[in-house]
């Protein structure tokens, strides 16, 4: 029963309460009725039915979720030829009589059952690209500035707020982080006191200085809207620059070290 419930949940989540699956089934029936060439029927009609039977098999679901890779079974739904089967149905209908009326009806079905890609849901943030990297421009600017301040042979380390963790290592492979994007994963079983401080609502620069010292972190990046419990300048930080809505502080003690060892002593 758990597997059945899991399959229903998976299908609802994927097809947004089943509308897409219903349209696909209707399109399959239409293909059966229209009878295209046999090899086409075999691959798309018979193939789809068998794929549906296999994908929605509770036994397979149970084995996959428990012994192969939990949480990714829904990707089997990519095997269903939803787009070409539905497109076949639309093309056949549009080639018939009353083309204009058919086109209007199909558009209405599309609007009712579909969701426009460019205003709909995405896994993360969507916004206008600010540069060819398609990364936030403020991140590009602050990373370039940090690199410009790098000393010869320095192992440059910087701590970033949660919202920038996804981006920084896509742009700069030479800035080492004391914690990375893994801390954002709900299933992450580790702990990071540094990240806890950086993600807290109020920034305590006394504790952050301690973290920077122990982790050889030279720069910290903070959101300018965050409250500060104490002044960064009173705790060994100097403002390095302002980039969009972010302040980059430099920990003076680490900056003034002649060479960084490059070894991570672990976090305290």
């Amino acid at each position: 029963m758990d597997a059945v419930r899991g399959l229903v949940f998976m299908s609802d989540s994927y097809f947004a309460a089943g509308g897409g699956l219903v349209l696909f089934m209707i399109s399959l029936m239409f293909m059966y009725k229209r009878r295209p060439a046999e090899h086409v029927r075999l691959v798309f009609f018979t193939g789809s039915l068998l794929l549906l039977a296999v994908i929605f098999c509770p036994v397979l679901f149970h084995i996959f979720e428990n012994y192969v890779d939990r949480g990714t079974y829904w990707r089997l739904l990519w095997l269903l030829p939803v787009s070409p089967v539905m497109a076949y149905g639309a093309a056949e209908l549009l080639d018939g009589d009353k083309k204009a009326l058919t086109a209007v009806m199909l558009v209405l079905v599309l609007l009712a059952g579909g969701r426009f890609m460019y205003t709909g849901v995405t896994n993360g943030e969507r916004r206008l690209a600010e540069n060819p990297y398609q990364l936030p421009q403020e991140l590009v600017d602050m990373a370039d500035a940090m690199e410009g301040a790098r000393k010869t042979d320095e192992t440059l380390k910087a701590a970033f707020p949660p919202e920038l963790l996804v981006y920084i290592r896509q742009y700069d492979a030479d800035i080492i982080l004391p914690y990375g994007r893994e801390v954002l994963d709900p299933g992450w079983g580790g702990s990071s006191g540094f990240y806890q401080q950086m993600s807290s609502l109020t920034l305590d620069f006394d504790i952050l200085a301690d973290k920077c010292l122990y982790n050889d972190v030279r720069f910290i990046v903070v959101n300018s809207t965050k409250a500060q419990l104490n002044a960064p300048e009173d705790n060994g930080f100097e403002l390095f620059g302002t980039y969009g809505g972010y302040l980059v502080y430099e920990y003076i003690y680490v900056r003034d070290q002649s060479l960084m060892s490059g070894t991570v002593r672990g976090e305290r």
Partner: protein, 365 residues
């Protein structure tokens, strides 16, 4: 100026020259030895991807240096292109180009609508950025491979040394992105987010175009309607973040998205070719399609380790149906042969480190 030339010619080499010339090795000509450039491109693209995966996996026995992988792959690819050219001239292939003249006005209008929708998707891929947590991992690896010349050695999230992640290093897509950056000189993020989606989205529609040609054989006037409907289904396919359409248009550069939007449709294309041959409608031999399927499987493995489960399932069902319907069990058996590289990779995936240690003891390195 030099860097602009490098970008142009490097990109042209990888995404045009390599697929078109190497595609000559896999293409099966139609009537009067005519070959369609689009079919050539599709064949060659999967040949290139499959070859890259194979070369990378072999190189990983000995080294993780991108430069070794890049040189090895480029040499083999150039030789393949030369071999493709030789086959082209020896066989006397002729291009079969689409004819716009004589096309009905309604058909022409349908094609125009489709290409407008395609252009819209390409434009949106350039104009909008969508952040995704997985990029920190895969593009992090790509950037590390390009800048440090070492693949899957560093932890992409933080930059420190790390143990090998066998689950993900079997899929060489981030290494391919790094390879593209090595050749054209662009940053991996620019290649992944801006440049490659233009080719990948177009290639996906090319594959669907050939699927449509099969479905509407003898009814060419319906093909643009099919393609237009397909484009609209994709554009309105954002029912959830999980759909293949959402991955295709908002995460185009990720291996999983290429698997969903390019590799899996290619499996259905191969299935249609095999079914047509098994039915007797196509009298030519099926060896070319199995070779194509081999490279599709390798390309799938390159995109995502998920393909090690998805592709065998789909192909077993499709060729099983064909074998049973037309009483030709050989179709199923030959399909199994195309799985052999995937079976090795699957064994490594399931066993983790154990098999690589064994392989190293046999091959050294």
């Amino acid at each position: 100026m030099l860097s602009v030339l490098r970008v142009f010619f490097g990109t042209l080499l990888i995404f045009s020259v390599f697929p078109l010339l190497s595609g000559m090795l896999l293409i099966r000509p139609g009537k009067d030895e005519r070959i369609r450039p689009g079919a050539l491109y599709v064949r060659g693209l999967f040949f290139m991807f499959g070859l890259f995966e194979a070369v990378t996996m072999v190189c990983f026995f000995f080294t993780r240096h991108l430069s070794v992988i890049a040189v090895s792959f480029t040499v083999i690819m150039v030789l393949s292109c030369i071999a493709g050219l030789v086959r082209y001239f020896m066989k006397g292939f002729m291009p079969e180009l689409p004819e716009a003249a004589g096309m009905e006005k309604s058909v022409l209008i349908s094609w125009v609508v489709f290409f407008v929708l395609l252009a819209l998707q390409l434009l949106m891929s350039l104009l909008f950025m969508t952040s995704d947590g997985d990029d920190a991992y895969f593009l992090g690896h790509a950037l590390l491979a390009d800048e440090k010349d070492l693949c899957f050695v560093f932890e992409p999230y933080t930059g420190v040394y790390s143990s090998a992640d066998y689950r993900h290093m079997l899929a060489a897509w981030p290494v391919f992105i790094a390879y593209v950056s090595r050749i054209n000189g662009l940053h991996t993020a620019i290649n992944a987010h801006t440049l490659m989606p233009l080719f990948l989205i177009s290639a996906s529609y090319l594959v669907y175009g050939f699927i449509g040609s099969h479905i509407f054989e003898g009814q060419k006037e319906k093909l643009p309607l099919f393609m237009t409907a397909l484009a609209l289904i994709n554009i309105f396919g954002n029912q959830s973040v999980y759909t293949a359409q959402t991955f295709f248009l908002t995460r185009t550069w990720q291996g999983k998205a290429v698997l969903a939007a390019l590799v899996i449709p290619a499996v259905f294309l191969a299935g249609l070719e095999l079914a047509k041959r098994a039915s007797g409608e196509d009298k030519t031999g099926s060896g070319g399609t199995y070779t194509f399927l081999l490279f599709v499987n390798l390309a799938g493995a390159m995109m995502s380790t998920m393909s090690l489960f998805l592709l065998p399932m789909a192909e077993a069902i499709l060729t099983g149906i064909i074998a049973i319907r037309y009483k030709k069990p050989g179709y199923f058996v030959y399909m199994l042969l195309t799985f052999l590289p995937l079976m090795y990779l699957l064994a490594v995936y399931m066993a983790g480190e154990g098999l690589e240690v064994m392989a190293r003891s046999i091959f050294g390195g």
